[in-house]
């Protein structure tokens, strides 16, 4: 269980998160939706402990991660896989070294086992046999899949996805959605997906939460969100150019 309560974050004088409250049940898939730049990725970085909140708490399995010492935080981190928006693959390493990075650094297991786990993870994302390629040789969609394989390789209990379908063609986007859903069903992991792609959100989410002006303003199942009466959520999910969100920006 992940419990985020009252998280506030100021980045370079910009109040990005203004009291985020969100509960994510174990084994569920929560999709956080919101406009670009509204702080979704910042929230993900808080969950994995890269950023620390100015106020508020992030509790994972009963531990407030902001209060953990480096060693304990690292133990928590090894249970979380974060799939970055652009993949964030290490471009000086091969695909295989990228995927096995977590195990090479901390796994304390033999080289053969690492190679097996790397191949198994690449297989899960449908990219078997590319371990010797360099990230530069991959397309955008392949990079995202390799990033997912890298997250899977450490056998995480929680997987965080940062805009998994952004910047890829609709067919690749759909296959990534399918992959996220099948991995979730197969591995029973807790997933948090940050996206502004509503098609993707409806397809993969058990629970949708909308982040707006640094707060979660609405939360519910995909059906509940689709039937919402909230004008802000309504404008966002229907992709309307006119409404309270754009009005607020214009007034600023």
């Amino acid at each position: 269980m992940i419990e985020i309560s009252g998280v506030v974050k100021n980045l370079n004088g910009n109040l990005v998160l203004r009291g985020v409250d969100l509960k994510i049940d174990k084994g569920s898939t929560c999709v956080i939706i919101g406009r670009s730049g509204c702080g979704k990725s910042v929230l993900l970085k808080h969950i994995v402990g890269i950023l620390k909140p100015d106020k508020g708490k992030i509790v994972i399995d009963g531990k407030d991660i902001a209060l953990l010492k480096e060693k304990e935080l690292n133990n928590v981190r090894m249970k979380i896989g974060l799939v970055f928006q652009g993949g964030a693959l290490f471009d000086s390493m091969t695909v295989g070294e990228n995927v096995g990075f977590g195990l090479i650094e901390h796994g304390h297991i033999s080289e053969e086992e690492i190679l097996d786990r790397v191949e198994e993870s690449l297989n899960m994302v449908g990219l078997a046999g590319i371990a010797n390629l360099m990230p530069l040789d991959l397309s955008g969609g392949m990079k995202k899949r390799v990033a997912l394989a890298r997250a899977l390789c450490i056998k995480p209990e929680i997987i965080l996805y940062d805009e998994p379908t952004t910047g890829v063609d609709p067919i690749t986007a759909d296959s990534i959605n399918e992959l996220i859903k099948s991995l979730h069903d197969k591995l029973k992991v807790t997933s948090i997906v940050v996206t502004h792609d509503m098609r993707s959100a409806y397809r993969i989410g058990d629970n949708l939460a909308m982040l707006y002006q640094g707060k979660i303003i609405s939360q519910g199942s995909p059906e509940e969100i689709q039937k919402t009466q909230d004008p802000i959520v309504h404008q966002f999910i229907n992709g309307l150019a006119h409404g309270p969100i754009t009005e607020a920006v214009r007034l600023l």
Partner: protein
């Protein structure tokens, strides 16, 4: 108009202290993490090769030309007072005590420091440094420590090499152009140099190596924006490294002059 002037000056002063604070913090973390296992020798060797072995051609070229130039410039004055023999001792002392260390450090700051900032900067922009953290890997331990150790070890070795090449350049000019006998040149050179001159020249380069590693990594970690940010950080890294090397050189020269005259 004056308001703006003071605002600009104020901003520069604040950003200077911000830089100094950040650099000191990175230096503290790097030095303390250098003693924490695991010690990644493979990464240190990889960086030592990049910083040392790969810099040899450039250091050779610059060292040789500095030797040529310095011998000719010294000869211009020494011939006027009829003391050509002292060219050897003057060149040897200047190269070993000052020119060799500083020129090598500046070359390494321009070649290796700039590449470290560009590499770490693009890693920052593409979230690779955040990715390291998600795999419970401390970016300072993984990226800065090997570069810090490699540069602090390689700079004295490169300097020793540059000193030898510089003296060789001067030897070539003196022996083949100015007609000084080879044996006399070598004897005067060896008589002019004491152990303390060599120590004086090499000791400070350990710190020059540390400065280059810390400044270039700090600037790389603090890149903001995209490709433009990487370019600006690389420029800043080279400029700040140059300034700090010259200041450190001045401090060491004064220290050695007054403490070990």
């Amino acid at each position: 108009m004056f308001d703006n002037f003071f605002i600009i000056i104020g901003r520069h002063i604040i950003s200077f202290f911000y830089f100094l604070g950040g650099l000191s913090n990175l230096a503290f973390k790097t030095i303390s993490l250098s003693f924490v296992p695991p010690y990644r020798k493979d990464r240190i060797f990889e960086q030592a090769k990049k910083a040392g072995l790969d810099s040899l051609p450039l250091v050779s070229l610059i060292g040789l030309f500095i030797g040529f130039i310095f011998a000719l410039q010294t000869a211009y004055f020494m011939q006027r007072i009829g003391s050509e023999l002292y060219i050897a001792s003057l060149v040897a002392l200047s190269i070993v005590r000052e020119l060799g260390p500083v020129i090598t450090a500046l070359v390494v700051a321009g070649r290796v420091g700039a590449s470290i900032t560009a590499e770490l900067g693009s890693m920052q922009v593409t979230e690779q440094i955040d990715a390291l953290e998600t795999f419970a890997t401390n970016p300072v331990k993984y990226l800065v420590v090997p570069r810090f150790i490699a540069l602090s070890l390689m700079l004295p070795i490169l300097t020793l090499y540059a000193d030898a090449i510089g003296i060789l350049g001067s030897y070539l000019i003196c022996v083949f152009r100015l007609g000084i006998s080879s044996s006399i040149y070598l004897r005067v050179t060896s008589e002019a140099l004491f152990h303390k001159d060599l120590f004086n020249g090499l000791f400070k380069t350990i710190f020059f190596g540390m400065i280059i590693a810390l400044v270039s990594c700090y600037e790389g970690f603090n890149v903001k924006g995209g490709a433009e940010g990487v370019g600006q950080a690389t420029t800043r890294s080279v400029v700040f490294s140059f300034i700090m090397i010259i200041i450190a050189d001045c401090i060491f020269t004064a220290l050695f002059y007054f403490i070990f005259p």
